[in-house]
């Protein structure tokens, strides 16, 4: 306050000197004194009126900011829920129940608590104010976390400080307001004395607000962490708190509050919006959202991905898993991975090691060869890491292969350069081709990883770029019969039905492509892998429509018996990835 006072005096004096009214800074002339008086009167009046509101209690204050009482009529389902949540939290925190107010016209996501400090003979009267945007964007658990955060402020005794800060800020805002009114009256006359004073007041007001924000940011950020932790103590649900913060993070481009009181209220709110630059970081009343999330649950991002997957699967029966239309599936969706695996796969180095560990065969005598080869290709440490991961994840590597590949490649895509990914894949490929058990499933997994890492087939790339070869590669539909026959027979074989059925099905589907008879192939043949690779190379340069139709056909074949086996899913993903197209299950 002293700093602000000195600042105002110097500013007013300086203006007086500038206009030649006075020649000494500290002996102001009469107009300058009048101006100083006006500024002070405005500040004190603004602060005085706000302090009356604060004294009158939280409910009055909430109404001043345009909030209405939450309705318990069933028409306002969300508000009813909010009332319940507030009641629950007041039990959990052991504080008297505050009144609940809603900012119905406010689309931003925020909440705050206001109220008078305890006066003699009267109970504390707090009011929790929640924006309509918050009601609509949060689910029940998240709303509970936000309300618990506000209760945290109450229990930690933040309100008296917050309220005095609110009063001081209101006073400073008042100059700004008066300045705007003065300017607004004479918008055309720039040199009208009223306008000059108005602009001066606005300038002074903005400096005052700047100072206010600086003061506010100094002590409100730590209190936010404290309130967050209290909220978790009350709800015992750190996940909901972190998820509420991440909901806000997704809406970071919106202001924290739209209304005219946004600046006054910033320090009491649940959040203060996104932080984009250094200036905002210094002045922000709240810590950065990511830091708050990290403080509550450092692994939240990974866990939320897990939950997102499970809801995605429920909603649209995603690529892996789900059972829409009576189709059952062996394939484990990502969210079925153990927590250990999920945390392991969030790190890029571990993800690489996990990818290698996938190809470690279960035959112990052959494992040593693989590890020594890996040690040769990278170094001993990396080989040891693969061994460690094989030990930790154990059976999960076999049973949840697809989910692991999905998650590992997801991590690598975001954190590893494309060129590095390519060389990683090359090493993996060469390591595999050396071993004698390079079967179709290993090949499929490898190609799947290739697809998920967004790496094109190196051979296909050169073929497709080669304009001279274009005419040669675009084959007639019928000429590719052997390729189709090969892929289709593999697809059908993976369904695991009886030989006779497989034969019948193969005949049926092959008719869709060609009239020529081809023998049915099996994955047990030697050299089948290179044949499959060659078939993909032929098909890859065909028009997109043909490739998509083929993959979609495969989806139908797979779903025909109403069950997706793990081998089928792997092959399907392999086909789609190798042919560079998506499919809808």
């Amino acid at each position: 306050m002293v700093v602000t006072a000195a600042f105002i005096h110097i500013a007013v004096g300086a203006v007086a000197v500038l206009f030649g009214q006075s020649n000494r800074l500290f002996e102001p002339s009469l107009p300058a004194l009048a101006l100083t008086g006006l500024v002070w009167a405005t500040i004190l009046l603004g602060a005085f009126f706000r302090s009356l509101d604060v004294k009158a209690g939280g409910a009055i204050l909430a109404r001043r900011f345009g909030a209405v009482h939450a309705s318990d009529r069933s028409r306002f389902e969300l508000e009813q829920q909010l009332l319940n949540v507030v009641a629950e939290m007041s039990i959990a925190s052991g504080t008297p129940q505050p009144e609940v107010y809603i900012l119905r016209k406010e689309s931003s996501i925020n909440a705050f608590v206001v109220g008078a400090a305890q006066t003699e003979g009267q109970p504390e009267r707090y009011a929790i104010v929640v924006t309509q945007g918050a009601l609509e964007s949060f689910n029940r658990d998240e709303l509970q976390a936000v309300v618990a955060h506000e209760f945290g402020h109450i229990c930690n005794g933040d309100l008296p400080i917050n309220m005095s800060l609110l009063i001081a800020l209101s006073g400073l805002m008042a100059i700004d307001e008066v300045g705007k009114i003065l300017v607004g009256k004479h918008p055309d006359e720039l040199l009208h004395p009223g306008v000059i004073v108005g602009y001066f007041l606005i300038a002074l007001g903005s400096v005052g607000v700047f100072l206010g924000k600086l003061i506010r940011s100094a002590f409100s950020r730590q209190r936010e962490y404290l309130a967050d932790s209290s909220a978790v103590q009350f709800t015992r649900n750190p996940y909901a708190m972190a998820s509420a913060l991440s909901v806000i993070k997704q809406h970071q481009n919106e202001p924290a509050l739209h209304g005219v009181h946004a600046n006054e209220l910033a320090h009491v709110c649940f959040q203060s919006g996104g932080i984009k630059n250094f200036y905002q970081r210094i002045l922000s009343s709240h810590p950065q959202l990511q830091k708050r999330i990290d403080a509550i649950d450092p692994h939240f991002d990974i866990k939320s991905r897990k939950v997102d997957r499970s809801t995605d699967n429920q909603v649209e029966s995603g690529v892996s898993g789900g059972n829409r239309g009576g189709v059952t599936s062996d394939v484990q969706p990502v969210h079925n991975l153990s927590d250990g695996a999920i945390i392991l796969l969030s790190d890029a180095r571990n993800s690489i090691a996990v990818l290698f560990a996938l190809f470690v065969c279960n035959d112990v005598s052959k494992q040593a060869d693989f590890y020594s080869a890996a040690a040769f290709a990278f170094d001993k440490k990396f080989s040891a890491r693969i061994k460690e991961i094989k030990r930790i994840l154990g059976d999960e590597l076999n049973t949840k292969k697809l989910a692991i590949i999905e998650l590992a490649t997801q991590t690598l895509r975001t954190s590893v350069e494309p060129s590095a990914r390519q060389s990683l894949l090359k090493k993996l490929e060469s390591l595999l081709s050396v071993g004698d058990d390079y079967d179709l499933m290993s090949y499929a997994s490898l190609q799947l990883i290739r697809g998920k890492l967004d790496i094109e087939f190196p051979v296909i790339k050169t073929l497709a770029d080669d304009h001279m070869a274009k005419g040669r590669n675009a084959k007639a539909f019928d000429e590719m019969g052997s390729e189709f026959a090969l892929l289709l027979s593999l697809m059908i074989e993976s369904s695991g039905s009886s030989q006779a059925e497989q034969e019948k099905e193969f005949e049926r589907v092959l008719k869709c492509y060609t009239n020529t008879q081809y023998p049915r192939r099996t994955s047990r043949e030697t050299g089948i892998v290179s044949e499959v690779a060659a078939a993909f190379q032929t098909l890859y340069v065909q028009p997109m429509a043909i490739r998509e139709a083929f993959v979609q056909h495969c989806v139908e074949i797979v779903q025909k018996d109403g069950h997706i086996a793990r081998a089928e899913q792997t092959l399907l993903d392999l086909f789609a990835a190798s042919l560079g197209c998506q499919y809808a299950a």
Binding site: S74, E77, Q80, N84, E88, M89, I91, S93, G94, R236
Partner: protein
């Protein structure tokens, strides 16, 4: 300064510290009992809500009279035991009886919810949706009341056992408080409310 004077000063200081500790223990103990009465308040709220639920459900599921009557029976049992426990909160056996009755009610409610899954009309009923939210909230309140009680008990017990408070506690017979614990793992499960 004479020895007598010195002794007097030390005695006064010790007495002041003792009084401060005593007052702190008293306030913690009261908070404790208040937290316990909160559990009862919320349990009562649940007992009042369940007949409404049963009434609404009756209209839709005439064939499930058995399940509904089981819920009503368990509710009445728990309600009467709750009243008994509220009258003499010191008696741990009454609290144990209440806890087991609560467990029976919870499992009856669980069965009802499973059965209700088969009645989409019931789940779509507007009144049922309101009740669903109310019930979910009540379950939460019971849980939070228990949580608050456990926290209060922990604070009180810790304060009571620490030195030098332990001397004051044993002099003024501050007894150790019990947690509201349920032994049977089945009873620890809450009633699942899944109308949506």
């Amino acid at each position: 300064m004479s020895t007598g004077m010195l002794t007097l000063i030390v005695a006064v200081a010790v007495a002041l510290v003792g009084v401060a500790i005593y007052n702190r223990l008293i306030s913690l103990r009261n908070r404790n009992s208040n937290a316990f009465s909160q559990i009862e308040v919320q349990l009562q709220r649940r007992y009042e809500l369940i007949p409404n639920l049963v009434e609404t459900a009756k209209a839709y599921m005439a064939h499930e009279a058995e399940t509904l009557s089981a819920v009503t029976k368990a509710r009445n049992e728990a309600s009467s035991r709750c009243e008994a426990a509220a009258k003499s909160p010191e008696d741990p056996s009454l609290i144990g009886a209440l806890a087991s009755a609560e467990g029976a009610l919870s499992s009856a409610m669980g069965r009802l919810n499973v059965v209700m899954e088969a009645y989409p009309d019931l789940k779509a009923d507007a009144q049922m949706r309101d009740l669903g939210e109310e019930l979910a909230s009540t379950e939460n309140r019971v849980a939070f009341a228990r949580q608050a009680y456990s926290d209060a008990v922990m604070l009180y017990n810790t304060a009571r056992e620490q030195f030098p408070a332990v001397i004051v506690a044993s002099l003024c017979s501050f007894k150790e408080a019990d947690l509201f614990e349920v032994d049977d793992p089945v009873m620890k499960e809450s009633v699942k409310v899944a109308f949506a």
